[in-house]
């Protein structure tokens, strides 16, 4: 059976060059980077090389990169770390309604602990209005966190404008770039980020490793205490193998950014056009232009996402529904709800996210299979069609 993986925003396979390097590292790089003897220093050299590569990818300084156990940890470190580390500055956080749970649940937990939280609304495309940010700022605002690109509907936020507002008021600005890095240019100075999150496994690197970019001078309190690795910001023996793979993935992401994403965008546009044409009562979610080049996110009236997903899986097509990163939860997508979509329509949402391995044939295959599957479930549905 034909296999089409179109869930690259959930995770990506390892890039073949990443695999090669990691295979080498598994056999040869086994020292502890904190050890003083040559075997340890050799491991440290590999980690530092990777650090330079990820720094280069986002225009950061070598010393501004802190490796973590993934995007979720980086988001938590950025937010909890900045808030706990700057208690004298204030106790009010601003974020948006469409953030990843790693940001949103982290902020909500701080709210439970007594911090003030403003969750900004979004428009129908899931876009934050910078004017709303301005209005939400209070005397005690210490941190604004707005993601760069949305993991569900692919909408790209006006991060530059928001960071300018933050800067003017002397408020720290964090942005989750897990979905944008490697897809569109991510440069810490262009974005005006004080803190920035990246995850390795979304750019063809291994899972379980990520980074926090922390601008020099920004105070962050650690989440995890111990041996003092990562310049005391994130203790724990370095995930050398993961970091080495991440570094390679970053190098490739920088190298192939333009060509690969131009290619994927053409396929994605064909997919969107085909789906909207072939399937009645299908809707594209997210912003039409200001969206990630690999994302096509639809709602289909009168069908439920999980059954669609399972049926597509039986036909070899891997996609996701709702909030992909926690699709074991039953809650309807908070992102689409925030965009004002009805519960029922939200339930019929499916995300296609294309990647390196996808071809035009893949798109054609999806377009040949999807309409029938949607049609079939509609015939089962007590909603509509009557």
């Amino acid at each position: 059976m034909k296999k089409v993986y179109m869930d690259h925003s959930a995770t990506t396979p390892l890039h073949p060059e990443v695999i090669d390097l990691m295979k080498f590292a598994m056999e040869h790089v086994y020292g502890n980077p904190s050890s003083l003897y040559s075997l340890g220093q050799e491991a440290k050299k590999y980690v530092d090389e990777a650090r330079q590569k990820v720094a280069d990818l986002i225009g950061a300084g070598f010393d501004e990169i802190y490796f973590t156990g993934g995007g979720t940890e980086s988001d938590n470190l950025a937010i909890q770390g900045a808030v706990y580390g700057n208690e004298k500055k204030g106790n009010h956080i601003i974020t948006s309604a469409v953030e990843h749970p790693a940001v949103l649940d982290c902020c909500r937990n701080l709210e439970k602990k007594g911090y003030e939280l403003t969750i900004l609304p979004v428009d129908q495309y899931g876009m934050v209005d910078p004017e709303e940010v301005n209005k939400a700022i209070k005397k005690n605002t210490v941190l604004i966190s707005v993601m760069h690109g949305n993991n569900e509907n692919g909408t790209i936020q006006p991060v530059q404008e928001i960071s300018k507002i933050a800067k003017k008021q002397g408020i720290f600005f964090h942005t989750d770039c897990v979905q944008t890095v490697g897809k569109i240019p991510v440069h810490v100075d262009d974005l005006g980020a004080d803190l920035l999150t990246i995850s390795s496994h979304k750019i063809y690197g291994p899972k379980g490793v990520g980074l926090l970019y922390k601008r020099k001078g920004v105070r962050v309190q650690p989440l995890i205490y111990g041996g003092g690795q990562e310049r005391r910001i994130r203790s724990g023996t370095e995930n050398t193998l993961g970091i080495i793979g991440f570094g390679k993935a970053a190098e490739i992401a920088a190298r192939d950014l333009e060509t690969e994403n131009r290619r994927v965008k053409v396929l994605r546009d064909k997919l969107i056009k085909g789906v909207l044409e072939k399937i009645p009562q299908s809707y594209l979610n997210g912003h039409k232009e200001k969206r990630l080049p690999h994302n096509a996110h639809f709602s289909f009236a009168y069908v439920e996402g999980e059954s669609l997903l399972l049926s597509l899986d039986m036909k070899g097509i891997a996609v996701s529904t709702g909030s992909a990163c926690s699709s074991t939860s039953l809650q309807a997508s908070h992102v689409l709800i925030a965009c004002g979509q009805s519960q029922e329509l939200v339930h019929g949402s499916i995300r296609f996210t294309l990647g390196r391995d996808n071809t035009e044939e893949d798109v054609d295959y999806v377009l040949s299979v999807l309409p029938g599957v949607v049609e079939r479930f509609r015939s089962f549905s007590p909603l509509g069609g009557e």
């Binding site: 009168y302 069908v303 439920e304 999980e306 059954s307 399972l310 039986m314 074991t328 039953l330 309807a332 519960q343 029922e344 939200v346 339930h347 015939s379 089962f380 549905s381 007590p382 909603l383």
Partner: protein, 121 residues
Amino acid sequence: MYNPTVMDHFENPRNVGEIADADGMGEVGNLSCGDILRVYIKVKDNILEDVKYKTFGCGAAIASGSMLTELAKGKTVEEALAITNNTVADALGGLPPKKKHCSNLAADALHKALEDWQTKK
């Protein structure tokens, strides 16, 4: 995620559809997931002659509806009333913990359909 029995009923759901001249109809919406299941019954001489369902629901809901109709068909009203979500889930060989409520949808819709028939009678 689902066992082969569930997947079989998901792929080839039995008795999907409506009964135009149904004697009873029950619809249940699940608050926790927003899904909906509707059951139609045709009752003759205290026997459920025909049972059909429609659902806007997850894989487990589709399979539960399918299994429910199979279980209920040909049963007496009393037997049908004794069908619970556990009966359905067990007949399916079990559902994942988070999906237990999906079998409720089916059982509850059947009971509602029986109530409907009762009042109309």
